[in-house]
Protein backbone atom coordinates (compact mmCIF):
# COMPACT_ATOMS: atom_id res chain seq x y z
CA UNK A 1 0.00 0.00 0.00
CA UNK A 2 1.49 3.34 -0.99
CA UNK A 3 2.47 5.95 1.59
CA UNK A 4 0.34 8.51 -0.21
CA UNK A 5 -2.71 6.24 0.14
CA UNK A 6 -1.99 5.65 3.83
CA UNK A 7 -1.67 9.38 4.56
CA UNK A 8 -4.91 10.09 2.70
CA UNK A 9 -6.55 7.32 4.71
CA UNK A 10 -5.38 8.84 7.98
CA UNK A 11 -6.73 12.24 6.94
CA UNK A 12 -10.02 10.58 5.88
CA UNK A 13 -10.40 9.05 9.35
CA UNK A 14 -9.47 12.39 10.98
CA UNK A 15 -12.14 14.18 8.96
CA UNK A 16 -14.64 11.49 9.84
CA UNK A 17 -13.84 11.57 13.56
CA UNK A 18 -13.68 15.35 13.73
CA UNK A 19 -17.28 15.49 12.54
CA UNK A 20 -18.39 12.79 14.92
CA UNK A 21 -16.76 14.25 18.02
CA UNK A 22 -16.78 17.99 17.33
CA UNK A 23 -19.23 20.25 19.14
CA UNK A 24 -18.67 23.03 16.63
CA UNK A 25 -18.44 21.55 13.15
CA UNK A 26 -21.34 20.49 10.98
CA UNK A 27 -21.10 17.42 8.85
CA UNK A 28 -22.77 15.54 6.11
CA UNK A 29 -22.36 12.05 4.74
CA UNK A 30 -23.11 10.71 1.31
CA UNK A 31 -23.14 7.62 -0.86
CA UNK A 32 -22.46 7.94 -4.53
CA UNK A 33 -22.22 5.92 -7.71
CA UNK A 34 -19.58 6.96 -10.24
CA UNK A 35 -19.55 6.22 -13.94
CA UNK A 36 -15.97 6.66 -15.12
CA UNK A 37 -14.16 6.58 -18.41
CA UNK A 38 -10.37 6.48 -18.41
CA UNK A 39 -8.18 7.68 -21.25
CA UNK A 40 -4.79 5.95 -21.32
CA UNK A 41 -1.67 7.63 -22.66
CA UNK A 42 0.57 4.84 -23.90
CA UNK A 43 3.13 4.01 -26.54
CA UNK A 44 4.03 1.11 -28.83
CA UNK A 45 4.37 -1.85 -28.51
CA UNK A 46 1.36 -1.54 -26.22
CA UNK A 47 -1.92 -1.35 -28.07
CA UNK A 48 -4.77 -0.80 -25.64
CA UNK A 49 -8.22 -1.16 -27.13
CA UNK A 50 -11.84 -1.46 -26.04
CA UNK A 51 -11.57 0.66 -22.94
CA UNK A 52 -14.92 0.22 -21.20
CA UNK A 53 -16.54 2.58 -18.70
CA UNK A 54 -16.06 1.66 -15.05
CA UNK A 55 -18.78 1.76 -12.42
CA UNK A 56 -17.56 2.48 -8.91
CA UNK A 57 -19.17 3.34 -5.61
CA UNK A 58 -18.13 5.66 -2.82
CA UNK A 59 -18.75 6.85 0.70
CA UNK A 60 -17.96 10.43 1.63
CA UNK A 61 -18.12 12.90 4.44
CA UNK A 62 -18.03 16.72 4.31
CA UNK A 63 -17.43 19.29 7.00
CA UNK A 64 -18.71 22.83 6.93
CA UNK A 65 -18.65 25.62 9.48
CA UNK A 66 -22.38 26.32 9.12
CA UNK A 67 -25.10 25.73 6.60
CA UNK A 68 -24.45 29.03 4.85
CA UNK A 69 -20.71 28.41 4.55
CA UNK A 70 -19.44 28.70 0.97
CA UNK A 71 -16.51 26.35 1.66
CA UNK A 72 -16.61 22.73 2.65
CA UNK A 73 -13.82 20.27 3.12
CA UNK A 74 -14.38 16.60 2.75
CA UNK A 75 -12.99 13.14 2.30
CA UNK A 76 -14.26 10.34 0.13
CA UNK A 77 -13.54 6.63 -0.16
CA UNK A 78 -14.42 4.96 -3.48
CA UNK A 79 -14.00 1.58 -5.02
CA UNK A 80 -11.46 1.77 -7.83
CA UNK A 81 -11.69 0.08 -11.21
CA UNK A 82 -9.85 0.38 -14.48
CA UNK A 83 -9.84 -1.93 -17.48
CA UNK A 84 -8.60 -2.23 -21.01
CA UNK A 85 -7.86 -4.93 -23.57
CA UNK A 86 -5.07 -6.04 -25.81
CA UNK A 87 -5.92 -8.37 -28.69
CA UNK A 88 -3.59 -11.08 -30.01
CA UNK A 89 -4.40 -14.05 -32.25
CA UNK A 90 -8.13 -13.30 -32.01
CA UNK A 91 -7.94 -13.69 -28.21
CA UNK A 92 -8.93 -10.91 -25.83
CA UNK A 93 -6.51 -10.16 -23.02
CA UNK A 94 -8.31 -8.08 -20.46
CA UNK A 95 -6.30 -6.04 -17.96
CA UNK A 96 -8.27 -5.30 -14.81
CA UNK A 97 -7.23 -3.11 -11.90
CA UNK A 98 -9.36 -3.25 -8.76
CA UNK A 99 -8.83 -1.40 -5.52
CA UNK A 100 -9.76 1.67 -3.53
CA UNK A 101 -9.24 5.39 -3.99
CA UNK A 102 -9.27 8.10 -1.37
CA UNK A 103 -10.02 11.73 -2.10
CA UNK A 104 -9.44 14.78 0.04
CA UNK A 105 -11.50 17.58 -1.40
CA UNK A 106 -12.80 21.05 -1.00
CA UNK A 107 -16.10 22.37 -2.35
CA UNK A 108 -16.91 25.99 -3.10
CA UNK A 109 -20.47 27.09 -3.54
CA UNK A 110 -20.90 29.44 -6.51
CA UNK A 111 -24.67 29.58 -6.30
CA UNK A 112 -27.43 28.01 -4.32
CA UNK A 113 -27.27 24.82 -6.39
CA UNK A 114 -23.89 24.83 -8.10
CA UNK A 115 -20.59 23.85 -6.42
CA UNK A 116 -17.05 23.64 -7.70
CA UNK A 117 -14.81 20.95 -6.29
CA UNK A 118 -11.10 20.18 -6.34
CA UNK A 119 -8.75 17.97 -4.40
CA UNK A 120 -6.16 15.22 -4.36
CA UNK A 121 -6.69 11.52 -4.92
CA UNK A 122 -4.63 8.45 -4.09
CA UNK A 123 -5.43 4.90 -5.17
CA UNK A 124 -4.17 1.46 -4.35
CA UNK A 125 -5.15 -1.47 -6.53
CA UNK A 126 -4.37 -5.01 -7.62
CA UNK A 127 -3.81 -5.71 -11.30
CA UNK A 128 -4.74 -8.90 -13.09
CA UNK A 129 -4.80 -10.15 -16.66
CA UNK A 130 -7.46 -12.46 -18.09
CA UNK A 131 -7.48 -14.26 -21.42
CA UNK A 132 -11.02 -14.70 -22.79
CA UNK A 133 -12.22 -14.42 -19.22
CA UNK A 134 -9.75 -16.97 -17.80
CA UNK A 135 -7.40 -15.73 -15.09
CA UNK A 136 -3.74 -15.65 -16.14
CA UNK A 137 -1.64 -13.55 -13.85
CA UNK A 138 -1.61 -10.74 -11.34
CA UNK A 139 0.02 -8.29 -13.68
CA UNK A 140 3.80 -8.63 -13.59
CA UNK A 141 5.38 -5.18 -13.99
CA UNK A 142 2.32 -3.15 -13.01
CA UNK A 143 2.47 -0.70 -10.12
CA UNK A 144 -0.11 -1.07 -7.40
CA UNK A 145 -0.75 2.57 -6.56
CA UNK A 146 -1.43 5.89 -8.24
CA UNK A 147 -2.09 9.45 -7.18
CA UNK A 148 -3.27 12.65 -8.78
CA UNK A 149 -5.49 15.72 -8.59
CA UNK A 150 -9.03 16.35 -9.75
CA UNK A 151 -11.42 19.18 -10.56
CA UNK A 152 -15.15 19.12 -11.02
CA UNK A 153 -18.52 20.54 -10.24
CA UNK A 154 -21.83 19.32 -8.93
CA UNK A 155 -25.43 20.41 -8.94
CA UNK A 156 -28.06 19.93 -6.22
CA UNK A 157 -31.07 18.29 -7.86
CA UNK A 158 -32.82 18.24 -4.52
CA UNK A 159 -31.62 18.73 -0.98
CA UNK A 160 -30.38 15.13 -0.91
CA UNK A 161 -29.62 14.22 -4.52
CA UNK A 162 -26.57 15.66 -6.28
CA UNK A 163 -25.40 15.18 -9.85
CA UNK A 164 -21.76 15.95 -10.60
CA UNK A 165 -18.82 15.54 -12.93
CA UNK A 166 -15.10 15.35 -12.28
CA UNK A 167 -11.88 14.97 -14.20
CA UNK A 168 -8.94 13.17 -12.61
CA UNK A 169 -5.34 13.83 -13.68
CA UNK A 170 -3.29 10.82 -12.55
CA UNK A 171 0.46 11.22 -12.20
CA UNK A 172 1.94 7.72 -12.04
CA UNK A 173 2.79 5.47 -14.99
CA UNK A 174 0.99 2.20 -14.36
CA UNK A 175 3.52 -0.11 -15.99
CA UNK A 176 7.29 -0.51 -15.88
CA UNK A 177 8.78 -3.05 -18.27
CA UNK A 178 11.96 -4.10 -19.94
CA UNK A 179 11.78 -5.16 -23.58
CA UNK A 180 13.75 -8.20 -24.68
CA UNK A 181 15.43 -7.40 -27.98
CA UNK A 182 15.40 -9.75 -30.96
CA UNK A 183 18.69 -11.37 -29.93
CA UNK A 184 17.96 -11.53 -26.20
CA UNK A 185 19.48 -8.20 -25.20
CA UNK A 186 17.56 -6.42 -22.43
CA UNK A 187 16.52 -2.88 -23.34
CA UNK A 188 16.48 -0.06 -20.75
CA UNK A 189 13.46 0.00 -18.47
CA UNK A 190 10.45 1.91 -19.78
CA UNK A 191 7.55 3.42 -17.85
CA UNK A 192 4.26 3.66 -19.72
CA UNK A 193 0.45 3.93 -19.43
CA UNK A 194 -0.78 7.01 -17.64
CA UNK A 195 -4.48 7.49 -17.07
CA UNK A 196 -6.81 10.47 -17.06
CA UNK A 197 -10.34 9.79 -15.91
CA UNK A 198 -13.59 11.59 -16.66
CA UNK A 199 -16.54 10.72 -14.47
CA UNK A 200 -20.10 11.61 -13.68
CA UNK A 201 -21.59 10.76 -10.33
CA UNK A 202 -24.94 10.66 -8.63
CA UNK A 203 -24.78 11.32 -4.91
CA UNK A 204 -27.26 10.79 -2.15
CA UNK A 205 -26.64 12.94 0.90
CA UNK A 206 -27.86 11.96 4.30
CA UNK A 207 -27.28 13.16 7.85
CA UNK A 208 -27.63 16.60 6.35
CA UNK A 209 -26.91 18.13 9.68
CA UNK A 210 -25.33 15.99 12.35
CA UNK A 211 -25.09 18.56 15.14
Amino acid sequence: MSKCFKYCGIVFLMVFESVFFSNVLFGQMYFQGNLQYSIYNHHKPLDLVDVNPDLTFGLGVMIFANQKSKFEIGAELNSFHRNFYQKYDEADYKYIFRGLDLRLLTNYSISEKWNLTTGVVAATYFPEIRMNGEYIVEGEGFRESDYGVFIGCHYYLTKSWVLGARFDFWFVNMLEYQLIGDYGDLQPKVKDIRANTAEVFLRYQFFNRWK
Binding site: Y88, A91, I136, E140, G141, D182, Y183, L186
Partner: protein
Protein backbone atom coordinates in the same frame (compact mmCIF):
# COMPACT_ATOMS: atom_id res chain seq x y z
CA UNK B 1 -15.26 -14.64 14.32
CA UNK B 2 -17.43 -15.83 11.46
CA UNK B 3 -15.86 -13.20 9.19
CA UNK B 4 -12.38 -14.45 10.02
CA UNK B 5 -13.34 -17.91 8.73
CA UNK B 6 -14.89 -16.35 5.63
CA UNK B 7 -11.68 -14.40 4.98
CA UNK B 8 -9.51 -17.48 5.53
CA UNK B 9 -11.75 -19.43 3.15
CA UNK B 10 -11.53 -16.75 0.49
CA UNK B 11 -7.76 -16.51 0.87
CA UNK B 12 -7.46 -20.28 0.45
CA UNK B 13 -9.61 -20.19 -2.68
CA UNK B 14 -7.50 -17.35 -4.09
CA UNK B 15 -4.32 -19.34 -3.39
CA UNK B 16 -5.76 -22.37 -5.20
CA UNK B 17 -6.32 -20.50 -8.47
CA UNK B 18 -4.40 -22.16 -11.24
CA UNK B 19 -1.79 -19.77 -12.56
CA UNK B 20 -0.56 -21.34 -15.80
CA UNK B 21 2.32 -18.91 -16.18
CA UNK B 22 3.33 -15.40 -15.25
CA UNK B 23 2.49 -13.50 -18.39
CA UNK B 24 4.45 -10.64 -19.87
CA UNK B 25 2.43 -7.45 -19.39
CA UNK B 26 3.28 -6.38 -22.93
CA UNK B 27 2.27 -9.59 -24.64
CA UNK B 28 0.50 -12.03 -22.30
CA UNK B 29 0.96 -14.86 -24.79
CA UNK B 30 4.55 -15.06 -23.59
CA UNK B 31 5.87 -15.48 -20.05
CA UNK B 32 7.39 -12.49 -18.33
CA UNK B 33 11.16 -12.58 -18.04
CA UNK B 34 11.71 -13.86 -14.52
CA UNK B 35 14.25 -15.64 -12.35
CA UNK B 36 11.88 -17.51 -10.04
CA UNK B 37 12.05 -21.03 -11.44
CA UNK B 38 8.66 -20.88 -13.15
CA UNK B 39 9.62 -23.66 -15.62
CA UNK B 40 8.50 -21.64 -18.61
CA UNK B 41 10.07 -20.38 -21.80
CA UNK B 42 8.81 -18.24 -24.63
CA UNK B 43 9.88 -16.52 -27.83
CA UNK B 44 8.63 -15.37 -31.20
CA UNK B 45 9.37 -18.05 -33.78
CA UNK B 46 8.92 -16.77 -37.31
CA UNK B 47 6.78 -13.99 -35.87
CA UNK B 48 4.39 -16.28 -33.97
CA UNK B 49 4.44 -16.58 -30.20
CA UNK B 50 5.94 -19.80 -28.84
CA UNK B 51 5.28 -20.89 -25.29
CA UNK B 52 6.67 -23.80 -23.29
CA UNK B 53 4.57 -23.98 -20.17
CA UNK B 54 2.42 -26.42 -18.21
CA UNK B 55 -0.68 -24.72 -19.56
CA UNK B 56 0.06 -25.52 -23.19
CA UNK B 57 0.58 -29.25 -22.87
CA UNK B 58 -0.71 -32.10 -20.78
CA UNK B 59 2.80 -33.14 -19.83
CA UNK B 60 5.64 -31.16 -18.26
CA UNK B 61 7.93 -29.04 -20.37
CA UNK B 62 11.57 -30.09 -20.36
CA UNK B 63 14.85 -28.33 -20.11
CA UNK B 64 17.55 -30.87 -20.76
CA UNK B 65 21.29 -30.39 -20.66
CA UNK B 66 23.09 -33.16 -22.49
CA UNK B 67 26.75 -33.98 -23.01
CA UNK B 68 28.61 -36.81 -24.74
CA UNK B 69 31.12 -38.61 -22.53
CA UNK B 70 33.75 -38.81 -25.26
CA UNK B 71 33.52 -35.33 -26.75
CA UNK B 72 33.37 -31.68 -25.77
CA UNK B 73 30.11 -29.83 -26.23
CA UNK B 74 26.75 -29.40 -24.55
CA UNK B 75 23.29 -29.48 -26.01
CA UNK B 76 20.58 -27.55 -24.18
CA UNK B 77 17.05 -28.30 -25.31
CA UNK B 78 13.83 -26.57 -24.31
CA UNK B 79 11.17 -29.00 -25.45
CA UNK B 80 7.39 -29.29 -25.46
CA UNK B 81 6.71 -25.75 -26.56
CA UNK B 82 3.83 -24.88 -28.84
CA UNK B 83 2.79 -22.26 -31.33
CA UNK B 84 -0.64 -21.51 -32.69
CA UNK B 85 -0.32 -20.83 -36.40
CA UNK B 86 -3.59 -20.04 -38.16
CA UNK B 87 -5.63 -21.95 -35.54
CA UNK B 88 -3.29 -24.93 -35.77
CA UNK B 89 -1.35 -26.02 -32.66
CA UNK B 90 2.21 -26.88 -33.67
CA UNK B 91 4.96 -28.30 -31.49
CA UNK B 92 8.32 -26.57 -31.54
CA UNK B 93 11.50 -27.21 -29.56
CA UNK B 94 14.29 -24.70 -29.21
CA UNK B 95 17.85 -25.63 -28.38
CA UNK B 96 21.47 -24.58 -28.28
CA UNK B 97 24.69 -26.40 -28.99
CA UNK B 98 27.64 -25.01 -27.07
CA UNK B 99 30.73 -26.56 -28.64
CA UNK B 100 33.27 -25.20 -26.18
CA UNK B 101 31.51 -26.18 -22.97
CA UNK B 102 30.84 -29.46 -21.23
CA UNK B 103 28.21 -28.95 -18.56
CA UNK B 104 27.89 -32.27 -16.77
CA UNK B 105 26.84 -31.18 -13.28
CA UNK B 106 24.42 -28.52 -12.15
CA UNK B 107 27.03 -26.71 -10.05
CA UNK B 108 28.93 -25.97 -13.26
CA UNK B 109 26.00 -23.75 -14.20
CA UNK B 110 26.92 -21.38 -11.38
CA UNK B 111 30.05 -20.42 -13.34
CA UNK B 112 27.87 -19.35 -16.27
CA UNK B 113 25.98 -16.73 -14.30
CA UNK B 114 25.80 -13.39 -16.11
CA UNK B 115 27.50 -14.59 -19.29
CA UNK B 116 26.78 -14.00 -22.95
CA UNK B 117 27.37 -16.88 -25.33
CA UNK B 118 27.85 -15.79 -28.88
CA UNK B 119 26.06 -18.20 -31.17
CA UNK B 120 28.39 -17.96 -34.15
CA UNK B 121 26.67 -20.67 -36.16
CA UNK B 122 29.78 -22.86 -36.15
CA UNK B 123 31.03 -23.96 -32.72
CA UNK B 124 28.03 -22.53 -30.84
CA UNK B 125 24.65 -22.41 -32.50
CA UNK B 126 20.92 -22.26 -31.99
CA UNK B 127 18.59 -25.09 -32.99
CA UNK B 128 14.94 -25.21 -33.92
CA UNK B 129 13.04 -28.48 -34.09
CA UNK B 130 9.89 -28.27 -36.18
CA UNK B 131 7.75 -31.19 -35.14
CA UNK B 132 5.18 -31.55 -37.85
CA UNK B 133 4.50 -34.85 -39.63
CA UNK B 134 8.22 -35.61 -39.63
CA UNK B 135 10.48 -33.83 -37.13
CA UNK B 136 12.95 -31.52 -38.77
CA UNK B 137 15.91 -30.16 -36.82
CA UNK B 138 17.28 -26.89 -38.11
CA UNK B 139 20.81 -26.13 -36.89
CA UNK B 140 23.51 -23.47 -37.02
CA UNK B 141 21.46 -20.57 -35.76
CA UNK B 142 23.37 -17.32 -35.33
CA UNK B 143 22.62 -14.95 -32.47
CA UNK B 144 23.05 -14.69 -28.70
CA UNK B 145 22.30 -16.70 -25.57
CA UNK B 146 22.39 -14.76 -22.31
CA UNK B 147 22.57 -16.73 -19.05
CA UNK B 148 21.22 -13.94 -16.85
CA UNK B 149 20.98 -15.60 -13.47
CA UNK B 150 21.86 -18.85 -11.79
CA UNK B 151 20.47 -19.03 -8.29
CA UNK B 152 21.37 -21.61 -5.69
CA UNK B 153 19.43 -21.64 -2.45
CA UNK B 154 20.51 -23.55 0.65
CA UNK B 155 18.35 -26.60 1.21
CA UNK B 156 17.05 -26.71 -2.35
CA UNK B 157 18.19 -29.54 -4.55
CA UNK B 158 17.52 -27.50 -7.69
CA UNK B 159 19.19 -24.46 -9.20
CA UNK B 160 17.22 -21.71 -10.88
CA UNK B 161 18.60 -20.83 -14.30
CA UNK B 162 17.14 -17.96 -16.30
CA UNK B 163 18.16 -16.13 -19.43
CA UNK B 164 17.26 -14.63 -22.77
CA UNK B 165 18.12 -15.54 -26.34
CA UNK B 166 17.55 -14.93 -30.00
CA UNK B 167 18.93 -16.26 -33.27
CA UNK B 168 18.40 -16.63 -37.02
CA UNK B 169 18.60 -19.93 -38.89
CA UNK B 170 18.98 -20.15 -42.64
CA UNK B 171 17.64 -23.37 -44.07
CA UNK B 172 16.76 -24.29 -47.65
CA UNK B 173 16.81 -20.64 -48.65
CA UNK B 174 14.44 -19.69 -45.82
CA UNK B 175 15.37 -17.52 -42.87
CA UNK B 176 13.76 -18.75 -39.66
CA UNK B 177 13.80 -16.39 -36.72
CA UNK B 178 13.70 -17.14 -33.01
CA UNK B 179 13.47 -13.72 -31.38
CA UNK B 180 13.01 -12.17 -27.93
CA UNK B 181 13.39 -15.52 -26.15
CA UNK B 182 13.29 -15.95 -22.39
CA UNK B 183 13.50 -18.97 -20.10
CA UNK B 184 13.31 -19.62 -16.36
CA UNK B 185 13.77 -23.20 -15.14
CA UNK B 186 14.51 -25.17 -12.00
CA UNK B 187 17.35 -27.52 -12.80
CA UNK B 188 17.85 -30.79 -10.95
CA UNK B 189 20.20 -33.70 -11.61
CA UNK B 190 17.36 -35.28 -13.59
CA UNK B 191 17.61 -32.47 -16.15
CA UNK B 192 21.01 -33.80 -17.24
CA UNK B 193 21.61 -36.54 -19.77
CA UNK B 194 24.83 -38.06 -20.97
CA UNK B 195 24.36 -38.71 -24.66
CA UNK B 196 22.71 -36.97 -27.56
Amino acid sequence: MRWIFVLIGLSTLMACRDIPYEASPLDPRLPAFSADGTNTAGAYIDGYSWLASRSTVSYEPHFTICTNPDSVGTRILVSNGFQIIEDDLQKRDVGFFLGDLSIRYKNQLLELRDTVINLDGVSNYGMLILDSESPDTLRYGVGKLYIRDVISKPGLESLIVSGTFGFDIKSNGLNHTVYSGRFDYRIKDSNFCYSF
